[in-house]
Amino acid sequence: MPRSNGESFLLDANITLLCWELVFLCAITGGVGKSCLTAQFVQNVWIESYDPTIEDSYRKQIEVDGRQCILEILDTAGTEQFTAMRELYMKQGQGFLLVFSITSMSSLNELSELREQIMRIKDDENVPIVIVGNKSDLEEDRAVPRARAFGLSQNWGNAPYYETSARRRANVNEVFIDLCRQIIRKDSEGSRSSSDPSRKREGPNRHDRKRDNRRPRKRGPCVIL
């Protein structure tokens, strides 16, 4: 990688290039393990005691393609029954993780409703979305065939589909990084001209992304909280 590029990034990082991204995790019913996913992602491995009541409990800085991003995660865990609340969260979210449990078909079916709500609220067909089949460690209890989930992913404009295990910490970071990448890309597309709606196919465990859109430039409006 060219030296100058890296240096300019360094410079940026020192000044402002920490962008806040809001990620929203949703599932209609509890029990799909999304709070575990969040907790696993947010807390460092060696923290032995997790306190969710402090301001930074749902915040984490990650590096995506050389950019430092601060992800703030809105997780409705525990308040699934406050259905009216959901919209409030959704409005704030810039990217969405739709989590279901691979052990429950109904949890998958519920995602459609969520997605429609998101589309409606964001008034946008290309909201960054990642579909997450959690509890991949419970393979023996699998109720959702992979093909089914992939089918859904295709129908939804090739939204990436990952299978994760919060318990084994498998694919946890990948999910968030992928989503974050989508948000960043969408931001830059939006500020150019959003004429290219076709998204690249993104399969799970994809590590070979091109880095063509990584030119250092001023970011569009990022939500600073």
Partner: protein, 1157 residues
């Protein structure tokens, strides 16, 4: 193994030694040192052949940080050492609490005998880790950490007697292991010496306990800082005293009891394997003896008033011998005492890489160890160059530096390769690291050039030295940066395994060919270390003591500057770094001159510069993962707070010898005797900052029913609330009964403890009984009450039986629980309103009453606009508050409210339903108005109601209303919002800010913190918090003891849960407002009306309705339609959720709304 030995710092002194032989003016002192060492002559010849040691060393696993050392040789650096010097004079047998060990073999320690702190040579000592003493030693370590390492919170930590449990349990363990637990035990009666020391030990203990009590009293008052400090110091010294006494006790025991037992067991050949060399450097020990015949004469120089050293020595040896037999019943420990000891003095140097090989090959760990290794080498490198050392040595060190750096970079490289995204930062850091290293090598080469000239003493010009230091400093900085970046990358990509042999060859072999000869030579030729260290006093290679005012520099490896020992002892407060060039003989004369001229540029810049950049970083990283790497250079304990002070000699604590009274009053001993005899599971608890973090059930129960202190209210209520999550009710009852039973062994405590146990039972039955869960334990409790309890406390037994009867008869708790039973202390701050204060009258005129009456008779329809916003807010608040106050704590446990079927959390569910209904009502009232103007008026009214809710501290309703106004179907009504007044918009914006979800509801949380009930918090935040506490924390914790690991209950998790619940309960206080039944009835009717459609369909209806009111702009809806057509499967997949806004007209449910094309 060779490489390990090679790096024992004191051994490195070989070169300069020859110079020293000539400096005759020091011969006196030297002989003194010889003499002290010479006393070893009297030692029983326990030292076996060196070969055996080597075998053991081969097996020695990763080095361990030993918290305690015992001086094996006396160490008196320079005649009359005042306590203000930074070196710590030692007498044989002294016990030292170690704070950190420097790369060069010097350790920063506190002498338990006097409480003085300073540097001491580790090769004069051996690790003190006798099994019977372990708990006591650990207790002292904890004690020290809390007092010295605690940051201001010490007062709180001493709020109870928990801290005293450690020492008490420790002494008990010691006495138990030595079979001297009771005064009547055989050994105590048989050996008078043992009895006396035991008695003294107990009186020391009781003196400590008394001081702790006094401290509690003082702390409860309003003590001055000085006062507190003074008592803390006193306590610390007393704790020290206990340990030294314990050590003496063990010595005596070993001598009197252990010896005879060992002799009895000597018949077998088994002991030969334990007969390890007692001396630190036993390899050279015997040879050294021959070398120094003059030691015998000067032995008389020793002036010690304690027991004679020989005795001590023999006792120590004895202890080593006989404790082995003690440990026979333990699993065989491959690490012998002496092998461990060697690791202590070795581990600082280049043990990094070698240890990394035995360590697991996790990248992060490897990274840490190689980095440590590199810094270690670099540290000695910097140190070396400043002394007039031969160039070969410098070459070797440089080479080592490069090798270890290579090892480090290898790991970094591996990390890079694994990082698919190729972090730019890391790449850069690595590159600059390489550059810095080559700079260093160049600089070193420059320096060498003149060194090749023969007979040139002043080979290093200051400028070149400076250059070298700078290069090395840059290197350290670059390495630190590199490490940080690598860690960052690791954090992102996750840790990984590396091939084990990766750097095996790289950094192990080359240095060893280089230096093998000198080392071997040295071993043959040189006197043993005890002689060496003193002699190095006059020679540059002595372990360095750096700037005493910057504590971190002590803990870092880099701060290895060659401050001269004698300089330090002669200049007690010196913060100077005497640098290189000083010829040994001319040292003292040039000293002062040098100091003036060079202090500012060299010493300062070096000592401070490096410390602040590289070393402080290492220090932090070490403390953080020290547990993982096991290689931490400093102990994990906080040592920094007062290092500066103590090294300046201002360790102003009363000296132990004067402050501790040797009171042996009989009644005190009685009490301590009793304390000792108490059976306890306190060691099964995990503490952190004075709070219980985890523990086994029995240990937690013990804490719950402790007799010395009233249990913390929060602890007790947590127990009642959450015990069902970690134990069945029957187990809980049984554990309580067991506690009742075993406390009987401790007569003086049995009374209060048994009463406590009874009270716990009573509280459980009275107000915390859950019929659905606890009834299985009832039978056991009845039996317990009838038998054991009745036998000991007849009235209590009877009352418990009565209670049990009532419980089985009544359906709920016998005594209705206080709503705020958890947060009792908090409720006291609720606003006090005199009961006679009249309730505020409802704001309802005749007109409103009439309207309500007509509505009741179906004569008129009414809307919210007909009522005053404040009154509506009040009635909403009353309605919600009633449900909120009814929430039981058990509804909030274990995500009960999310259970799909048979959830017990009826009230929590009702809260969420009400909140959702209210949102729907808001939307409904706006969306079913045809004219934008009317809608705007309604919005304004709702904003007013929301503001009134805020005035009433009703955040739950506020949240529901704002949520609803935020709904896309409302917010998209552009025409409507255009009419809404600016004032209303501003008010709404303000309210939105309050319930903002971002930053984890920071605004809302902040407000709630300061609120005084009555208040209705938003329940959702509590539910989310509880969910995350439940899912984000493990239910078990691992408690590591010396022998094993055990899983204990993660009580911290339950405390967190209970804290959140108590926070919620704090607000469960009803409002003082007048209910208007008619209005309530109307509201209820409205809420039910909007609910009837069911959640999902309701929102969809609302959305369609919204589209009808203000249709989408044409272009927009066209694209939407199109994209949906192009993507049919998603719609077909979920027919029931079909999002088709044109079909709304077909739905019969929609009320009289005119259709339009």
């Amino acid at each position: 193994m060779e490489s390990m030995k090679r790096h024992i710092p004191p051994l490195n002194i070989s070169k300069s030694n020859s110079n020293l032989q000539e400096s005759t003016d020091h011969s006196n002192l030297q002989s003194r040192f010889y003499s002290t060492w010479g006393s070893s002559e009297m030692t029983p010849p326990l030292t076996p052949q060196t070969q055996e040691t080597n075998m053991d060393q081969l097996e020695a696993p990763r080095p361990v940080f030993h918290n305690y050392l015992r001086a094996f040789y006396p160490f008196h650096p320079a005649g009359n050492v005042s306590p203000s010097t930074v070196t710590l004079p030692l007498d044989q047998g002294d016990i030292i609490l170690v704070h950190s060990v420097h790369t060069n073999g010097w350790a920063d320690g506190t002498l338990l005998d006097s409480g003085n702190r300073g540097w001491l040579p580790t090769n004069y000592c051996e690790a003190y880790d006798q099994l019977p003493m372990r708990p006591l030693l650990k207790a002292l370590t904890d004690f020290w950490d809390i007092i010295r390492g605690g940051c201001g919170s010490s007062l709180k930590d001493f709020g109870n007697q928990d801290l005293m449990r450690g020492p008490i349990a420790g002494v008990r363990f010691l006495l138990e292991k030595s079979e001297c637990l009771t005064r009547e035990s055989l050994l105590v009666r048989k050996y008078d010496g043992l009895r006396r020391i035991r008695k003294a030990l107990l009186s020391d203990l009781s003196s400590l306990v008394k001081t702790a009590k006094k401290f509690q009293e003082v702390a409860n008052g309003n003590p001055s800082e000085d006062e507190v400090e003074h008592i803390l110091d006193e306590m610390l010294l007393k704790a020290f005293k206990i340990v030294t006494r314990g050590v003496r006790f063990l010595d005596v025991w070993n001598e009197e009891v252990g010896l005879s037992r060992t002799i009895a067991g000597m018949d077998g050949p088994a002991d030969s394997q334990y007969d390890l060399p007692p001396t630190p450097a036993s390899e050279t020990f015997n040879i050294g003896e021959n070398d120094c015949p003059e030691r015998n004469e000067s032995r008389m120089l020793e002036s010690r008033q304690m027991e004679s050293r020989q005795t001590t020595r023999s006792r120590m040896d004895m202890s080593r011998l006989s404790m082995r037999t003690d440990m026979m019943d333990q699993p065989p420990r491959p690490v012998s005492v002496s092998a461990k000891r060697i690791s202590v003095s070795h581990r600082m140097s280049v043990s990094g890489p070698s240890a990394a090989i035995c360590a697991q090959n996790l990248a992060s760990e490897r990274l840490g160890t190689t980095y440590d290794g590199f810094l270690g080498v670099l540290g000695s490198f910097i140190g070396l160059h400043m002394q007039s050392r031969s160039s070969t040595e410098l070459v070797v060190t440089t080479k080592q530096a490069v090798e270890s750096c290579k090892a480090f970079l290898n790991v970094v490289e591996a990390v890079c390769e694994h990082d698919t995204h190729r972090s730019v930062l890391l790449d850069q850091a690595r590159e600059s690291m390489c550059e810095r290293l080559s700079d260093l090598v160049h600089a070193a080469r420059d320096v060498f050039r003149p060194a090749h000239l023969p007979e040139d003493d002043m080979v290093f010009m200051p400028d070149e030295g400076k250059q070298l230091v700078e290069a090395a400093t840059h290197c350290v900085r670059a390495a630190g940066n590199c490490l940080a970046k690598a860690r960052l990358v690791l954090e992102q990509i996750g840790d990984m395994e590396l091939e084990p042999e990766n750097e095996n060859e790289g950094d192990q072999e080359p240095p060893s060919d280089q230096s093998e000869t000198p080392v071997a030579e040295y071993e043959r030729r040189l006197p043993p270390p005890p002689l060496q260290i003193p002699s190095t006093t006059y020679s540059p290679p002595t372990p360095a003591l750096t700037d005493a005012t910057t504590p971190s520099s002590f803990q870092s490896h880099i701060a290895n500057s060659p401050a001269n020992l004698s300089a330090i002892s002669s200049l007690p407060n010196s913060a100077v770094l005497p640098t290189h060039l000083e010829n040994v003989s001319s040292f003292s004369s040039t000293e002062s001159g040098y100091r003036e001229s060079h202090k500012s540029d060299m010493g300062e810049s070096f000592g401070r510069g490096i410390t602040s950049n590289g070393s402080s970083f290492t220090y932090h990283s070490h403390t953080r993962d020290s547990e993982m790497s096991g290689l931490s250079q400093t102990s994990t304990r906080a040592t920094s707070p007062d290092i500066g002070g103590s090294f300046q000699g201002s360790y102003n604590v009363p000296s132990l010898k004067e402050s501790v009274s040797y009171s042996t009053l009989a009644e005190e001993n009685e009490e301590t005797e009793a304390n000792i005899l108490e059976r306890t599971y306190a060691h099964e608890l995990i503490y952190k900052e004075g709070a219980v973090m985890g523990g086994s059930l029995r240990a937690l129960i013990e804490k719950l029913t402790a007799h010395q202190s009233t249990p913390d209210a929060m602890f007790v209520s947590t127990f009642y609330l959450t015990f069902r999550l970690f134990a069945s009710p029957l187990e809980f009852a049984e554990a309580l009964a067991a506690r009742f039973e075993y406390i009987g062994d401790t007569p003086h405590a049995a009374g209060p403890v048994r009463l406590r146990v009874y009270n716990i039972f009573k509280g459980w039955l009275e107000s915390h009984w859950r019929h659905d869960r606890d009834n299985i334990a009832l039978e056991f409790i009845v039996t317990f009450a009838k038998t054991k309890l009745a036998a000991d406390l007849p009235t209590a037994g009877k009352r418990l039986l009565d209670l049990a009867d009532k419980v089985s008869a009544v359906g709920g708790p016998v005594v209705p629980r206080l709503v705020s039973s958890m947060g009792k202390t908090n409720t006291s701050i609720a606003q006090y309103i005199h009961p006679d204060t009249p309730l505020p009258p409802p704001i309802l005129g005749k007109k409103e009453h009439n309207l309500l009456k007509q509505w009741k008779n179906n004569e008129a329809s009414i809307t919210i606009l007909d009522f005053d916003p404040l009154e509506l807010a009040r009635q909403l608040t009353i309605k919600e508050s009633r449900i909120f106050c009814a929430i039981l704590p058990e509804e909030l446990l274990d995500t009960e409210w999310n259970r799909k079927t048979g959830s017990l959390a009826v009230n929590v569910r009702a809260m969420s339903t009400l909140s959702t209904d209210l949102s729907h009502l808001v939307a409904d009232s706006i969306l079913y108005l045809e004219e934008p103007k009317k809608r705007a008026t309604t919005i304004k009214h709702w904003v007013k109601i929301a503001s009134k809710c805020l005035e009433l501290n009703n955040y739950d309703s506020l949240m529901a209303i704002i949520c609803s106004l935020n709904l896309s179907m409302i917010s998209r009504l552009k025409k409507t919002w255009d009419i809404v007044s600016q004032k209303t918009k501003v008010a709404l914006e303000h309210l939105r800010g309050i319930v903002d979800v971002s930053r984890n509801y920071a605004v809302l949380r902040q407000r709630l913190q300061n609120h005084v009930p009555p208040c209705l918090p938003f329940v959702g935040t509590y539910l989310t918090d509880l969910t995350f506490v439940d899912h984000g924390n493990q239910s078990l914790r691992t408690l590591c003891t010396d022998e094993s690991e055990m899983d204990v209950i993660n009580f911290d998790k339950h405390m967190k849960t209970a804290r959140i619940i108590s926070e919620l309960q704090r607000f469960q206080i009803p409002y003082r407002l007048t209910e208007v039944p008619e209005l309530q009835a109307w509201m209820q009717n409205e809420l039910v009306r909007v609910r009837s459609n069911g959640d999902d369909t309701t929102t969809q209806l609302f959305y369609r309705r919204s589209l009808v009111l203000e249709p989408r702009e044409q272009s927009r809806s066209a694209t939407t339609l199109q994209s949906q057509d192009s993507n049919p499967p998603s719609i077909l997949d979920n027919a029931k959720d079909k999002f088709d806004f044109l079909s709304w007209t077909n739905q019969g449910k929609v009320k009289s709304v005119p259709t339009h094309g």
